[in-house]
């Protein structure tokens, strides 16, 4: 009986993931709502959300750039990649630009180390980057956006 309810709590992370997929981030209101659904203290849910890096508390940019800083990529120069993007877009690791277009985040291994250094933009992976290639990729996104807008 009580086991039944406990089992339910083990779905908390799943539910939070679904929420994030839907909204792009997890708002205070979502935390309160989900806490109520699970009959959990709000502070506990907030604590869980803040523990896992996957959960974002603010809306991310339209294009989420993830710079792989896994071992292979780091060794081959992901720090430079990150700096080049920062120079180009004016946002640092963990930031989103003012227009909400790009957000930048460094992450651990994206799983394609043999293509290091690697970034992904909204899940699409770009490997074997050098400065020129990188700036072109970003420029293409900017162009696409300018054309769309």
């Amino acid at each position: 009986m009580s086991k039944e309810k406990v089992m339910e709590k083990s779905n908390l992370i799943k539910v939070l993931q679904t929420e994030q997929k839907k909204e792009g981030f997890i708002s205070d209101a979502a935390i309160e709502r989900i806490a109520e659904e699970f009959d959990l203290p709000v502070v506990e849910v907030e604590g869980v959300v803040s523990f896992y890096t996957q959960f974002k508390r603010v809306p991310p940019g339209k294009y989420q750039i993830m710079v792989c800083d896994g071992t292979a990529c780091h060794i081959i120069g992901s720090t430079l990649i990150l700096n080049w993007i920062t120079d180009d877009l004016g946002i640092k690791d963990g930031e989103t630009d003012e227009e909400g277009l790009f957000s930048l985040e460094s992450v651990a291994c994206l799983g394609c180390c043999s293509l290091a250094p690697v970034i992904s933009i909204n899940g699409k992976v770009y490997g074997k980057l050098d400065r020129k290639k990188l700036l072109k990729i970003i420029a293409d996104y900017k162009k696409k956006e300018a054309a769309g807008a």
Binding site: A72, G111, V118
Partner: protein
């Protein structure tokens, strides 16, 4: 005649552009069967396409999504055929990845055609303790890092009386330079699940979880398809009772690879570890006895039950049997996934299989953030659990990064410590604060502000963190630093005493210099400098320069280089 065309569509392949190749192939070869398969491990040659014909199979490497190229491929053009180098073929021993990239991962039938689920079938007819005994005979040790004998762990769980027992597959693969488990799950989901089901029969567990790293969507997808397939066929029925298998996604926390943290995370809590004992086999998921094994551990099990533990133990060494998967990356030619017999030397993996240039390699980093750096003069060390530990590294999960001569070991250590500091759960004092203090100290050293006391602090504090941390994360976090301190002490001292980074990697210790004699005054560097610090007569203002390397990258004649700060003008390379 072409029977079918297989495109390597594991994450690595997709990243290399296999998706586009697949689309185009489907278009231009509409009459042929084009399927997606997993990864054969030769990631350096992606995208890879294999064409099955009556007269044998042909693999093509670095296939570009261009119609002309693909046409050639359909004509079985000799020119672009892929031939793995012989040394690698000689040294590899494919016990568990032999099917990877060969069969369609989500095809139960194809798996069955290759002896799939035969091990399970056999196991279902055995008594639980016979299975446990078989695994003990194989001497299979956990592949998740610790190397605990799998058979022994299973025997603990099997001995427990409980209304519910739980078996968990640890697929959190958090080492930032490792992707063995991902490949197994993407390419051979059924093999992992078969291993788990055998484990369920052996231990009496009826609730099975696969805790998978959130960043592995394809693995999750393939596992879920596979689970659906076996449930449909009733393969999950053990002793007349259906076993519940569920894939749970992590949410981005390396520490959740630790057993107790993983369980907390499964329970919907913050993923902080707790003190052991009690071990999970006594008190696990919601208090039920639970056993946790790594993906690769489970993937070994079908072979053991099918072919016998003794057969398995023929491969490898006395105390480390079987094979080990390594994710090879870094400064070498053939990066990718390799499966080698235990006992092979590091050198064989690095030079023979990886194709690294002898003399160009300074060290390997084995075991990721928990592991250590082993210098090149120890490369004849055999890869087995105990030899690696005695060198200050660990087998770890299987990340093997080759570090070339032009990398800074202090910076490498700093990198790993930055990772563990970021991933510390923050519970216990030594890890939460200690790693942070070590990181700050390393930052001082790479930032040119370190002192010899800092170097001493690193080893003193490092050893204390090992002793005084609650879980494996903290207990191993100082390893990358301590092992580099041990083998590359001279580099630390050069940083703090001379302000010199021989690898020219530490920004604070280098200047950027344009060699006027080589420079052809093309103006590319000036154009590309983000902070406009190169003068019209091609001199870098190093006060302003951010050491971004942009100019170095664009210079067509390699006239620009990093040099030791304020030092003699000598161009590297």
């Amino acid at each position: 005649m072409i029977k079918r065309i297989k495109v390597g569509m594991a994450s690595c392949g997709i990243a290399a552009g296999a998706g586009e190749v697949l689309e185009l192939l489907k278009e231009i070869a509409q009459d042929k069967e084009v399927v997606e398969v997993g990864c054969i491990g030769h990631c350096y040659a992606e995208p890879l396409v294999e064409v099955e014909t009556d007269s044998g199979n042909y693999i093509f490497e670095k296939v570009q999504p261009k119609e002309k190229d693909l046409q050639k491929l359909l004509e079985l053009d000799e020119f672009t055929r892929f031939q793995p180098h012989n040394l690698r073929i000689d040294k590899e021993r494919l016990l568990i990845t032999s099917l990877a990239g060969k069969i369609v991962p989500t095809s139960l039938d194809e798996y069955k055609d290759h002896k799939g689920y035969e091990g399970l079938k056999k196991a279902l007819e055995m008594k639980p303790d016979e299975i446990v005994e078989e695994v003990k005979t194989s001497k299979l040790r956990g592949r998740g890092g610790g190397g605990f004998p799998a058979g022994l762990k299973w025997s603990f769980l099997a001995a427990k009386e409980s209304e519910q027992k739980v078996l968990i597959c640890n697929a959190d693969e958090g080492d930032p330079g490792a992707f063995m488990d991902r490949t197994l799950m993407e390419s051979l989901p059924h093999q992992v699940i078969e291993g788990m089901l055998i484990g369920a029969k052996a231990t009496g567990a009826r609730k099975l979880f696969i805790y998978c790293r959130a960043e592995y969507p394809l693995a999750v997808k393939n596992l879920n398809i596979a689970i659906e397939q076996i449930e449909k066929e009733g393969l999950n029925i053990i002793d007349g009772e259906p076993v519940d298998i569920m894939v749970k996604e992590g949410a981005g926390a390396f520490v959740c690879g630790e057993e107790t943290a993983l369980i907390h995370s499964l329970e919907g809590k913050r993923g902080t570890p707790r003190y052991r004992p009690p071990y999970p086999t006594d008190y696990g998921f919601h208090g039920y006895p639970s056993a946790i094994n790594n993906v690769e551990t489970f993937a070994n099990v079908p072979f053991i039950v099918r072919e016998g533990g003794a057969k398995f133990a023929e491969t490898g060494t006395e105390n480390s049997t079987g094979t080990k998967l390594f994710a090879l990356a870094g400064d070498l030619k053939y990066s990718g996934l390799v499966e080698v017999p235990m006992g092979i030397s590091i050198g064989e993996v690095v030079y023979d299989i990886g194709g690294a240039e002898p003399g160009s390699v300074k060290a390997v980093q084995i075991g990721g953030p928990s592991g250590g750096c082993i210098p090149a003069d120890h490369f004849d060390t055999p890869i087995d659990y105990d030899s690696l530990t005695s060198l200050g590294a660990i087998m770890g999960s299987g990340g093997l990064i080759v570090i070339g001569n032009d990398r800074c070991m202090v910076e490498t250590a700093r990198y790993f410590l930055e990772f563990t500091t970021r991933e510390s759960c923050g519970k216990c004092t030594f890890c939460r604060i200690g790693t942070k203090r070590m990181l700050e100290t390393l930052e001082r050293i790479t930032g040119g502000e370190g002192s010899t006391e800092d170097v001493e602090l690193l080893s003193d504090l490092g050893n204390k963190i090992i002793r005084g941390s609650l879980c494996g994360l903290g207990q191993t976090a100082p390893n990358p630093v301590l092992s580099t301190l041990k083998y590359f002490n001279n580099e630390y001292l050069a940083h703090v005493e001379e302000g010199f980074c021989s690898a020219m990697e530490c920004k604070a210790l280098v200047d950027v210099f344009i060699d006027q004699e080589t420079c052809i005054e093309c103006g590319q560097c000036i154009k590309n400098c983000p902070v406009d610090c190169i003068s019209e007569d091609y001199v870098v203002d190093n006060e302003v320069c951010t050491r971004c390397n942009s100019c170095i990258e664009v210079c067509p004649v390699d006239a620009i280089a990093r040099i030791a700060k304020g030092g003699e003008v000598s161009v590297r390379n």
